[in-house]
């Protein structure tokens, strides 16, 4: 039944381009934090088997688990910092190099203590000890703050262990690559978190073992500055004739630093910095288990902001969450237009994807089949505890999402990588909502049937550029949105527009462009809510409201040909049960910590830019 539904879903878009769903951000037992939080047995092989739809053993509960709808691609992206070292030492501490009598003694005491904690089930204490403390200084550059250094681990040279682990990661990716059916990528995470400001990036390469085995992943233990990472990507790609992209994530936890107005060092953007950034970072992961980074939680005029807001920094202890402009992608896209005006390059001209950042080896983005952030918050009874440091959060603070939607000619590493680079990709918060959009100056011939064929001929897809034209009427957008074949109906489709007005100020506006159930606008100009069919006693919803799909052509009524702008689509589902409601029902409990109980899942496309 599921396969039939998916076939008809693909038919809705049928044409030369295929819609693929995958996860570019997944950790296995080789990540130190995954291992220390009770994923001590699921390696990359398990991750790929799960993603391809095979039953696997859960690393904590030891039950058989299986994804409902398999993924089309997966990147195993373990932390480069001490890649697999703790995992390997727990198996065999004799793999270390000689540090001399005192060096060995200190190291052995540390390792024995860590192994003891792991043995008695307190492995997370080892992880929590390594978390950074908030800045104690006043400077802009967090790396040179007294608390900015990463926790040192006196293990000596661990290159041999890292190389062994990296070889296993690469081997699994090669074994599971089935061109045309399933694409597995090599990758890793660069985990720079000076004083708890999240600057993390996932690095992906579409090349295979022949190239990947010539280098070792670059971690933030080498440098915590993004510019140093890009320099390494540049030199390594030239040296070994290989390709990379870097995908920032969890900007929501960056304390304003991810999309800042200056470099991390506090210098104004220069051309070189902006060019390097946009060359290596064409896309951003906007939604994942640790929250959504689309718009500031209190964005005026946006009733759908404050969605899955995650308020817990990656720190040893909790401090108040303060959302900042540099934490969210919508203000960043606007800032990019402003910087472009000032220096001629837009460092924030990025597309959008979602991914899970799951640390269980199971890329689970489904509310009904969500296996937690870590293995130690994977079952309902163990979710009511601090997750990541002394954070005052719980397993229900986590969001069951997201996924990366990719428009590609075929399911191969090369095609998916090219789609990332041309930004013909989008984010969903979990469900496989199908979204395609074309922008152009005259799209009136496009119909539901010839949508893709004419769309590519008359317009540009998501991630593209519109150039100026000698007329004043606004660009048109041909949009098709189809519900997840096994999911909920759709509430509405919106276009989010950002632009620089004639006074040089950046602005934003949200347009409802298609909606279900013949609803009206209220006196404030807001479309009436779609309603909520979720039965809080069963967790089930009814598709009696909403629409299965939308097709519309919308023209910008407020267009000014002198104003640089961007447009992206936001498509919303009707409310459905959040994973926390299902846990509440299972536990027969009603605790505020589990709320909200319902969620309006959504998709965000990469923007289309208009440049005068």
């Amino acid at each position: 039944m599921t396969l039939l539904l998916i076939a008809s879903f693909k038919q809705a878009f049928a044409d030369e381009m295929e819609l693929l769903f995958g996860d570019t951000h997944l950790h296995t037992a080789y990540s130190f934090d995954a291992f220390l939080n009770d994923n001590q047995s699921a390696y990359p092989d398990t991750a790929y088997r799960w993603a391809r739809g095979l039953p696997v053993i859960h690393p904590y509960t030891r039950t058989r688990v299986q994804i409902n709808t398999p993924l089309d691609f997966l990147v195993v992206s373990d932390h480069a910092e001490y890649l697999g070292v703790i995992t390997e030492l727990a198996k065999d501490p004799d793999q270390l190099t000689d540090l001399g009598f005192f060096g060995n003694l200190i190291r052995d005491i540390q390792i024995q203590f860590a192994l003891f904690l792991i043995e008695i089930g307190r492995a997370e204490d080892v992880f929590n000890n390594a978390l950074p403390e908030p800045a104690s200084g006043d400077g802009h550059d967090l790396v040179i703050d007294p608390n900015g250094a990463i926790a040192s681990v006196p293990y000596g040279d661990v290159t041999n262990i890292k190389a062994k682990v990296w070889a296993d990661i690469v081997k699994s990716a090669e074994e599971h690559y089935i061109p045309g059916k399933f694409s597995s990528f090599v990758g890793w995470e660069w985990t720079s978190t000076p004083t708890g400001a999240n600057l993390h990036r996932v690095i992906i390469s579409p090349d295979g073992a022949e190239k990947a085995l010539q280098y070792l992943p670059y971690g933030s233990d080498i440098s915590q500055y993004p510019r140093d990472l890009w320099t390494w990507l540049d030199s390594t790609s030239k040296k070994f004739d290989t390709r990379f992209i870097s995908i920032p994530h969890n900007s929501n936890l960056s304390k304003g630093y991810m999309f800042d107005q200056t470099t991390l060092e506090g210098e104004p953007f220069d051309r070189d910095y902006a060019e390097q950034r946009i060359k290596w970072e064409p896309i951003v992961e906007v939604t994942q288990v640790k929250g959504d980074s689309e718009s500031l939680p209190d964005t005026p005029g946006d009733e759908f902001s404050d969605f899955e807001t995650y308020q817990y920094y990656l720190q040893a202890y909790a401090t108040k969450y303060v959302p900042r402009q540099g934490d969210y992608i919508r203000p960043a896209l606007k800032l990019g237009l402003e910087i472009n005006e000032a220096i001629g390059v837009n460092p924030y001209k990025f597309g959008l994807i979602g991914s899970t950042d799951s640390h269980t080896s199971l890329a689970s983005a489904e509310e009904k089949n969500f296996w937690g952030k870590y293995s130690n918050d994977s079952t309902p009874e163990i979710k009511d505890q601090d997750i990541i440091g002394d954070a005052n959060n719980t397993g229900w603070s986590m969001s069951a999402g997201g996924l990366a939607g990719v428009w590609a000619k075929e399911n191969t590493r090369d095609e998916i990588y090219a789609a990332f680079k041309r930004k013909e990709v989008y984010a969903t918060t979990g469900p496989r909502i199908g979204v395609q959009v074309f922008a152009g100056w005259d799209l009136s011939d496009i119909t539901y049937k010839n949508f893709q064929d004419l769309g590519y001929k008359l317009g540009v897809p998501m991630g593209g550029d519109l150039s100026s034209i000698s007329k004043n009427s606004g660009p048109s957008f041909a949009i098709k949105v189809v519900k997840d074949p096994i999911g909920a109906n759709l509430d509405r489709v919106q276009i989010v527009k950002g632009w620089i007005d004639r006074d040089g100020k950046s602005r934003e506006k949200i347009y409802d462009v298609a909606w279900s159930d013949d609803r009206d606008f209220d006196s404030f100009g807001q479309l009436e809510p779609v309603g909520n069919t979720v039965d809080l006693t069963t967790g089930m919803h009814e598709n009696t409201i909403g629409e299965t799909d939308f097709f519309t052509i919308w023209q910008d009524p407020d267009f000014n040909r002198d104003e640089p702008s961007f447009y992206y689509i936001r498509a919303l589902e009707i409310p459905t049960a959040r994973h926390s409601l299902l846990d509440a029902l299972a536990l027969e409990s009603d605790d505020n910590k589990m709320k909200p109980y319902t969620i309006q899942e959504r998709a965000y496309t990469s923007p289309i830019w208009y440049n005068p």
């Binding site: 006043d138 007294p146 104004p268 946009i278 001629g344 680079k421 317009g459 593209g464 550029d465």
Partner: protein, 299 residues
């Protein structure tokens, strides 16, 4: 009474000390709590707790912090008190054990504090004169260079490894020019390209990363024909095949006029001045010390 005693009593300084001591005694008797000095007592006040909370939560606005503090529940306040007590007790213990000495993190923090307080604050930086701005701009012109940018669309034909695809491209080029195909209709021709079709105001490194070095060099060297009608150019070879391009804008790299970027120059010079003020202060501090070099490379 002996004469020397009378003489001492008549001394104004002695009288002053005596009266002062008397007043102190009276105050100590009236307000004994204020004078109770004990290393074992940690006094907690609303102000101390609010300050503690501010440091923890990084709430910089004091009024806001007081409001937050007032709204805390009894449990929350108790927790805050416990945390405060915990920190203070451990801190005092650390001090009494001299743990603040020879600790690299404390050393770095203290150094950072001096460094921060030495920065050139607004009123310390000399006012910038117009001619200084001009001089600065002349010296650092290259820093303000704007990148070369290009706007084009293209029609792509896959390379078939022989001359056929080149000939096909040439024929199509004629057709595009004959029919005066505009920018926005380029999608009606050619084959699907791996990356984008339109490139608007893109700079060299991005074009190179999509098309390769040869294509980038050729396209950035084009002089756009001045005709109003579309003028398709090519075929240009890339690592993927042949491209017919319609270039609508090439802006060479350039240094903007002074007036255009005056405010940027001003803020850059200001930052430089601020840095000089700071270096001067740090040098003053350092001049109080002498470096006694006893290194010998362990010889």
């Amino acid at each position: 009474m002996k004469a020397w005693i009378l003489k001492v009593i008549r001394e104004p300084i002695i009288q002053f000390v005596f009266i002062g001591s008397l007043l102190l005694c009276v105050d100590v008797l009236r307000n004994p709590d204020d004078y109770r000095v004990s290393n074992n007592e940690i006094i907690v006040t609303d102000a101390a707790l609010t300050n503690f909370m501010q440091q923890r939560a990084k709430i910089f606005n004091s009024e806001e912090a007081i409001e937050v503090y007032k709204q805390l529940t009894v449990d929350q306040k108790d927790k805050l008190k416990n945390d405060f007590f915990h920190q203070e007790a451990l801190y005092r213990e650390a001090l009494s054990n001299n743990f603040d000495k020879n600790d690299p993190i404390i050393k770095r923090r203290l150094v950072q504090k001096v460094d921060y307080l030495s920065q050139g604050f607004y009123d310390e930086v000399p006012v910038i004169q117009q001619e200084e701005l001009d001089r600065y701009f002349q010296s650092y012109k290259e820093n303000y260079r704007r990148p070369a940018l290009i706007t084009f669309t293209h029609v792509f034909l896959k390379s078939s490894g022989n001359n056929a695809s080149y000939s096909k491209a040439e024929l199509l080029l004629d057709e595009l020019n004959k029919n005066k195909v505009p920018f926005e209709q380029s999608g009606l021709f050619g084959e699907r390209f791996l990356y984008n079709r339109n490139y608007v105001n893109r700079e060299m490194s991005e074009i190179e990363s999509h098309f390769g070095d040869n294509f980038k060099n050729v396209i950035f060297s084009y002089d756009i024909p001045s005709s109003i009608e579309p003028s398709w150019l090519g075929p240009i070879e890339s690592k993927f095949g042949w491209h017919l391009v319609l270039v609508t804008k090439v802006s060479k790299a350039y240094i903007p006029d002074f007036e255009m970027i005056e405010s940027d120059i001003r803020s850059d010079l200001y930052r430089e001045r601020q840095f000089s003020v700071k270096m001067e202060k740090l040098n003053q501090i350092k001049s109080k010390f002498n470096l006694v070099d006893k290194t010998s490379n362990y010889d």
